[in-house]
Symmetry: C2
Subunit: 364 residues, 2 copies
Amino acid sequence: MSRETGHSLAAQVDRLGRAQVARRERPVLREARITLSHGSGGKASRNLIDGLIAPALGMEDALTQVDSVILPVTTGRIAFTTDTYVVSPLFFPGGDIGSLAVHGTINDLAMTGARPLALSLGFILEEGLEVEVLRRVLASIAAASAAAGVRIQTGDTKVVPRGKADALFINTSGVGLVAEHLTLSPAGAVPGDRVLLSGSVGEHGIAVMLAREALEIEADIRSDSAALHGLAAAVLEAAPGTRCLKDPTRGGVATSLNEIARAAGTGIAIEEERIRVLPEVRGACEILGLDPLHIANEGKLLAIVPPEQAAAALAAMRAHPLGRDAAIIGEVLDQPGDMVVLRTEAGGSRVLDMLVGDPLPRIC
Amino acid sequence: MSRETGHSLAAQVDRLGRAQVARRERPVLREARITLSHGSGGKASRNLIDGLIAPALGMEDALTQVDSVILPVTTGRIAFTTDTYVVSPLFFPGGDIGSLAVHGTINDLAMTGARPLALSLGFILEEGLEVEVLRRVLASIAAASAAAGVRIQTGDTKVVPRGKADALFINTSGVGLVAEHLTLSPAGAVPGDRVLLSGSVGEHGIAVMLAREALEIEADIRSDSAALHGLAAAVLEAAPGTRCLKDPTRGGVATSLNEIARAAGTGIAIEEERIRVLPEVRGACEILGLDPLHIANEGKLLAIVPPEQAAAALAAMRAHPLGRDAAIIGEVLDQPGDMVVLRTEAGGSRVLDMLVGDPLPRIC
């Protein structure tokens, strides 16, 4: 079933078809009003998207599971993605809304295996915003864009009256070029595949939360916000059979793994002891009653890789500055039910669910 | 100098270079705070974009004058654009924020001569928004997208707390395929070229304003919001030498013509009597003290066409449902100073400036 057999594309299409049929009934949006949970990236978000937005637009809900779309263009194929950033506060340790908007959209492209070509930049600015704030954000955008080697190529700016926005919001969309042979998809995971994670979890969400709230917690936690296209390319070169890549942003690693399990119609088991959590992050999570696996990351990569290429993928990650702490954290199980199980250090196990509700709104 | 001589591309590049050199010094953003005028699409917007945003990003300001960017993709070329919609109210005669977001971004692509391939959809939703409102907007997006034959292919949804947005905002970005030979550019206008306009002006801005304000004006004015890619393609087929296309949105026909004159380093003269204004729009403008040439349109096309192809372009426009009232409204002058002159019906003439300030905020 691996890509190397020469039957990879047909096999993947077949798996996609079966995942489609096996998928549970379409979720229903029951609420009459939008709540903060609808923007969480977790279950309520899925209800909103698959229960309302996708059907209203005639989109397959499989389409809403991936952040970028691949378009046939004459002989090439382009990836095209969009993301809006409403993070609060605008500035936080390790980043700001500007660098985040560059990294996040590059990462959405990178998860399709695309080489990012260009970004767009759409601002909504609140009347009364200090120009100095905008200037700082722009400088950060420029720096992040230059460091990543991906330029802002088109843009748009709107201003709304005071009180009709919160300082500034950013949309970045992006296009990228996809190599001819690549067909990464969460539905492509098959039993036996290994789950790789490029580093420690939870820094971004906790860094933003600590910057926002007047909490008693004193901890030096910086966002991990970073552009992942270089790391993704290294993994794909080392492990060309890679099934899918995923950046565990809103909803964290737990939500991303649940999305993969659901798309593939398989189970996933991960080992708690293999997942690195910085002590400061673990401490903050304990005080706040949060699971680090539900916290957003902005510079981490999950990869689902066939077992025979897992060692090569791991070595490629560890050789990259953004993947030094990479680990094989688990594997895809031959088990229906789309369940993600966490095997604890104590020897027990528990079901790892998607994020429910939104303990950390506006972290991106 | 026309495209038919076989030297078109070289000539255009040359003209672009000269326009670059001839351009006035970069505008300076003097304000310490963002005002509503910075979102007007007029002079203050240019000061913000060319005085702050473009230099902060290392963009040539020529790049900020066009709404889409053309990217080389293996053998093909794609156009890529973004636009954010914050129109208030959300619903108005002739359209709503959803149809507008589809039409506006398709039109940005169409102005490059591209065939639109795909749109993205990024929502910012305010906590407490009635789902029914979102449902209506989505239905409108779906209808506009289906009618235009351009699908929403990727999206993103964020929710912000009550009071941090105004019901909902939309970003749509788009990609399109550009025919190999096309190099439309406002800098491509040369003296003698004719200026074509596809129909009457001012309906969109006035329709939105009347829907928003509790004014004493009773008038049945509907937005002209429409997707222009079909009309644009018809013009380009009939007049392959077309220099540039432009949809006169924020800032109106006057601002668009000034942008073309500035990019090309030429003057433009237009005849007032050739410009169609519906009596209801004229009446509303007189009461409000506004010039219809400064009012936003969302379904009109300006085309700069070499004189020998102007009749064919006009016929093609008139044969299209969206161009029935098309007219040749003026011509490009061999006159430095980048000035747009309006020759009045009374036989006089006056300088037609870009929009200054923003009498109609949030019309798109």
